[in-house]
Symmetry: D2
Amino acid sequence: MRAIIKAAPGVGMTVAEVPTPRCGPADVLIKVKAAGVCGTDLHIWEWDRWASNRIRPPVTIGHEFAGEIVDLGPEALAAGILRPGDLVTAEGHIVCGHCLQCRTGHGHLCKRTKIIGVDRDGAFADFIAMPASNIVKLHGIPVEVGAIMDPVGNAVHTVLEGVEIPGSTVFVLGCGPIGCFAVGVAKAAGASLVIASDLNDMRLDLARSMGADLVLNPMSDDVVSRVLEATHGNGVDLVCEMSGHPAGHAQAFKAARLGGRVNLLGTPSQSTEVDFAHEIIFRGLTLYGVTGRKMYSTWNTMARMIRSGQLDPRPVITHRFPLESIAEAIAVIKEGRAGKVILEIDR
Amino acid sequence: MRAIIKAAPGVGMTVAEVPTPRCGPADVLIKVKAAGVCGTDLHIWEWDRWASNRIRPPVTIGHEFAGEIVDLGPEALAAGILRPGDLVTAEGHIVCGHCLQCRTGHGHLCKRTKIIGVDRDGAFADFIAMPASNIVKLHGIPVEVGAIMDPVGNAVHTVLEGVEIPGSTVFVLGCGPIGCFAVGVAKAAGASLVIASDLNDMRLDLARSMGADLVLNPMSDDVVSRVLEATHGNGVDLVCEMSGHPAGHAQAFKAARLGGRVNLLGTPSQSTEVDFAHEIIFRGLTLYGVTGRKMYSTWNTMARMIRSGQLDPRPVITHRFPLESIAEAIAVIKEGRAGKVILEIDR
Amino acid sequence: MRAIIKAAPGVGMTVAEVPTPRCGPADVLIKVKAAGVCGTDLHIWEWDRWASNRIRPPVTIGHEFAGEIVDLGPEALAAGILRPGDLVTAEGHIVCGHCLQCRTGHGHLCKRTKIIGVDRDGAFADFIAMPASNIVKLHGIPVEVGAIMDPVGNAVHTVLEGVEIPGSTVFVLGCGPIGCFAVGVAKAAGASLVIASDLNDMRLDLARSMGADLVLNPMSDDVVSRVLEATHGNGVDLVCEMSGHPAGHAQAFKAARLGGRVNLLGTPSQSTEVDFAHEIIFRGLTLYGVTGRKMYSTWNTMARMIRSGQLDPRPVITHRFPLESIAEAIAVIKEGRAGKVILEIDR
Amino acid sequence: MRAIIKAAPGVGMTVAEVPTPRCGPADVLIKVKAAGVCGTDLHIWEWDRWASNRIRPPVTIGHEFAGEIVDLGPEALAAGILRPGDLVTAEGHIVCGHCLQCRTGHGHLCKRTKIIGVDRDGAFADFIAMPASNIVKLHGIPVEVGAIMDPVGNAVHTVLEGVEIPGSTVFVLGCGPIGCFAVGVAKAAGASLVIASDLNDMRLDLARSMGADLVLNPMSDDVVSRVLEATHGNGVDLVCEMSGHPAGHAQAFKAARLGGRVNLLGTPSQSTEVDFAHEIIFRGLTLYGVTGRKMYSTWNTMARMIRSGQLDPRPVITHRFPLESIAEAIAVIKEGRAGKVILEIDR
């Protein structure tokens, strides 16, 4: 079958013919129809420090996808939930099920997590084999949307964790694809006011198309002042920190109301100077580090929001490429010209 | 000034001239502009067992209202929050502030609660005096909406307590005004599916106008089956029990999903046979009794939802009367012909 | 091997020789060392309506146990968590892992639950085979304690669900073994006051030995008055309803403080008349139906409490019998002479 | 009356004769019996940057105290809760009651907070006048304990916020008086394991006397390794960060388990470099900044724990001085020789 692989250490990826994966007794084999290209894939392409430390070539890339079940192992079949022909997506974090985290509702933080397309073969291929326990049925969700439920789920996790969104005020700081999804999630979840900021006006347009009530560009706006002004001087109930920049952190702490919350998803490449006394303690803030999607409450909430029409992430999709054009897909992301980029693997 | 009073024990109410209330040092004096007529007022009119045990005539009736501040006591003024001319509504439960409940976030359950229009003079009058601490500013909310924020707040409390509404499924059982408001609140708060039931088709029309996705009439629908069918056999995450009938309770317990929640606002006049083993325990249900509005988180959430345009309770208002027509207002409620009924006291 | 089986419909159980169970690929085979006898086992012995509807003989009885791993299937071994020689106990509810409940933290409410000793062969035998995912290692917990972690876990679930126990007041209504365990759990969890009631003075002695600060017998005490008196007229934060009697329900609702909580574990055989208006709604109560143990947060909390010495359920154990004496074990329970009864299967 | 005042800008304090404070209509006048000396008082003595920016001399110092009510204003009396002769302590943060924070359960974060002994006259005096709404009755709590419920409440807030302590593992990082109290609170609240660290062995002895299971001194122990070792490699559920040092922050983030929590009370005088990606986000941590005490749920929980005997903070008291010896009291704190220091104002 076709697959996009990291064949050896170094920059780039290769489109290659590889063997179709074997379907284990508790696995399903999925014919991939569409897949999302993620910032992580860009790191892998670039072979940066993180990638070179983590990836062991050769490996098939890709962790966001949707497709059709074409085979099931005997245990997967016996469970009676999944059948050939089902359109599905999947949680790409394969966890141990036995550790403290897995057993107490924090499986998304399992130390033994193996990520598809990173630690084992992934989804930029004609087929992928996955444990049945990781599968989520689309049940009417379009395949193209199913292909990006992994990052949409990051946004759902970031927006909904530890805060009651109905009637609340939310500031999404950083409007890459997940930030734009977060805008849509916050609106769908009943936020009264959603503010978004980014340095890139194209991204602000996407945020607006997802429902942002107010968009701010730090190049021209005093972001913190504008957030305070829009919230009667209080600041927002929740900041979704999607930028991963020290400047974003500083704004996030100032933009949150006294007793408010900052959920951090943007992963910085450098450290931030934090004045814990004045930025966090005297302000009574709560900070939370977002990893992955809660298994599987995030998926359940997200699937319902999408099926009901409350949440439609498609306005964020700006580019679609065939599998063979992975280099172009990476290029549009790298150049900051893209929202979400999709590989159409089997139309 | 004019006031609608219960002058003496017995059926009915009287429109009378009474002295304008005195504004205490921590009080504000409000010129009433509009007021809502509530089922409680019907009980007081009818002088039923509850009313005859609780009310000590003569007393001015009415607990849902909005108006304009015309005077403030010196302490109320010194607090620096309220000013003459402010358009306001108020929490009608005046609580002690010192008991276990008041001090631990359950002030709505204070044993020493005095309710305006029940335990002390109320709002069906040209003026009312209230403690400044009970006042909520309208800040742009229309006066007519302000006049019914008390019952809308009941709905907000019922829908949002103990459950994460974004993406959830909600069944509102009983579509009196508060049930209809609850439909609107659930939609505004991001529910994926809102089902409503009532025996009265006019009320079901109101529920639909507030956003119900599916309306059911027990006269023609097998309500529990239809709820299960609409939720893939699971039942709903939350039932808002607004009927107060034993038949409603039985439906509520069956319509909730395993591990779901039933928030009970409808106050029954009779007892219900509950099979705790099969209805509650084996189903892992949570039941919660709703009293009043949380002080003041319910008000804060509600005000934001209304100001943002997410929630507009006005489609539920079916009748408007001048203060003098209280008898007609009571009549349309009693005959089941009304949604919410408003007294326009000062237009 | 030896096993206590329900060989055919009707009263009683049989000690029989049966084949040693097969260890599936994801299973472990356990040599049973000790097992707890439960009220459920009494129902099965008596062959009451519930038992005759649910049990399909022949089946090996028993769902509370501890023992030693003697074999593992290849998948169970590959997971790398369990090894031959490990001393373990197990969650006896085998769930599907795929349904809404299993995927959103309510696996204890899975509709497809199979209970060992009820729906499939159980633990009153020399060996039992179980899915590895249900196993909990003892790691230093005595085998005799491990054998009763199933009902101790019911108590942990009942005491800790939905309420902050540190500094709280708790009333355990009904002092069968799980009620007595609940007393110990509440004390270990930092309750400031634990009150216990039962009609049986022997059981009240056990409750006292588990740490109850005050014990009440409805034969001689006005239970609700005494609870109110001990709580400065407020009532308790949490009632653990362990009796399953309508009289217990009525007491529970009155003994809870305004805004308090009643967690219900006692499973009634009849229905209760509930005055929802006065008992639940005006009092702002929350009721919760307790089924099983949360998988596996209840187990994690319980194991830590036992290992640290905070919680020792052994004072509740009053009788120990060899496997062959099941008839005597059932008899002491039936006659109300027992606390917890243990079968010593392999000493 | 006698009072310890900051008479003018600069180092030191003065024992002076000042007028007895006036008791307003909603106030009570309290004869102070004992008061606690706090690190804040040391800052005021030293006249550091914070103090010189915030304090407007002349002002009476002291915010931790207990005493006897000797007079009540008419409104305070009318509320019917407090009486002359009541032994009481008080929340020293006087809040506005009207802002978003005050109205939504975050009064401890009110922007308009006035702190006694800082922003208005305090408790190092024979008498203090306070709003009745800030008073907490001792009801049997010893006066000496009442005098330090302010900092004990900081510890209660830090230990109990956002985490279920029963059965949990807790690491108290920094064993000043509040850290030592936190050790006692965690034990009283049912923690299974409480670890404490400090550079000062005298303080570690106090932590041990409050119940710490394991004490660590960074001078001789690899703190993080020892915490991981004591928790089977997992790390703790909760770190109470009481040190306010960048080194403490780094240890705190590493010592918390994946998905764990760090509640920060120690107020740093410098900023900390935080690697959000590796320290917070990938570890799924929650951080929370602790200010004051929740009004008044913290007080309610604390009072019950003390009255029941679960929590006794007195082992932390190392020094007692008469009011006139404030200079000595400050000196023993400054030299690191003290646990908690008490002024005995009226024995």
